[in-house]
Symmetry: C2
Subunit: 128 residues, 2 copies
């Protein structure tokens, strides 16, 4: 069993094109030998957003803090703490901070997304 505090997990800036003011923490992933899915925490600063993009794997999201907006081709939806989001594979999507405090959420993906050489490099740090 592995137990760790989110506060002790290093944050890295998401540098994927289209991301603005987004940090990611790998809470549980390849380094923990998670076999099937990886749990990442994203923090989007006020005014920031994740890329508007799509990819061949799904997201499962839980909003922890702040106020945001989820874009999909069907429209935009407001997000608040306690909301969950399922983004199917290959659907265009984007998460934007619409408030004045950090917008924080966890976003899970299949484990292969973060295994070296399993996906194109541009996909390895993007929730979202």
């Amino acid at each position: 069993m592995i137990v760790k505090s989110t506060a002790n997990v290093p944050a890295e800036a998401v540098t994927m094109p289209g991301a603005a003011d987004v940090n990611m923490q790998m809470l549980l992933g390849p380094a923990d030998d998670c076999p099937n899915f990886a749990m990442r925490k994203f923090t989007v600063a006020p005014g920031g957003h994740t890329p508007r993009h799509q990819h061949n794997y799904e997201h499962e999201v839980l909003v922890l803090r702040g106020s945001g907006r989820a874009f999909s081709p069907a429209g935009e939806k407001h997000l608040a703490p306690g909301d969950v989001v399922f983004v199917p594979a290959n659907e265009l999507h984007q998460f934007t901070n619409t408030g004045s405090e950090p917008f924080e959420f966890i976003c899970l993906v299949p484990a292969h997304v973060h295994r070296p050489a399993a996906q194109p490099a541009a996909n390895t740090a993007g929730c979202s």
Copy 2:
């Protein structure tokens, strides 16, 4: 894209032997066509606990609220909001509320755990 509030997801009592005062909400799972993993929220009342058991799939846990304890054969660890836990497949484990308020956490499992007939019935509602 599916968006829903945790507050609107029905809670069901976990009736697995060994569970005490535990409710589960299926936040994202088979009914949402999640292909690879399922996100459940567990609420353990003060004095309650999940079963002390093991199974052939892993858990990825994030503590949301309250105070708890995670048991594994290596010992017991205190859990607080923001802590994450990885329980590997086949490791004995149990989560206990050690505080005076509800102990809440999400716990993700491979999707097959909640698909009909994919696992023995006794495993279909147990984080934990």
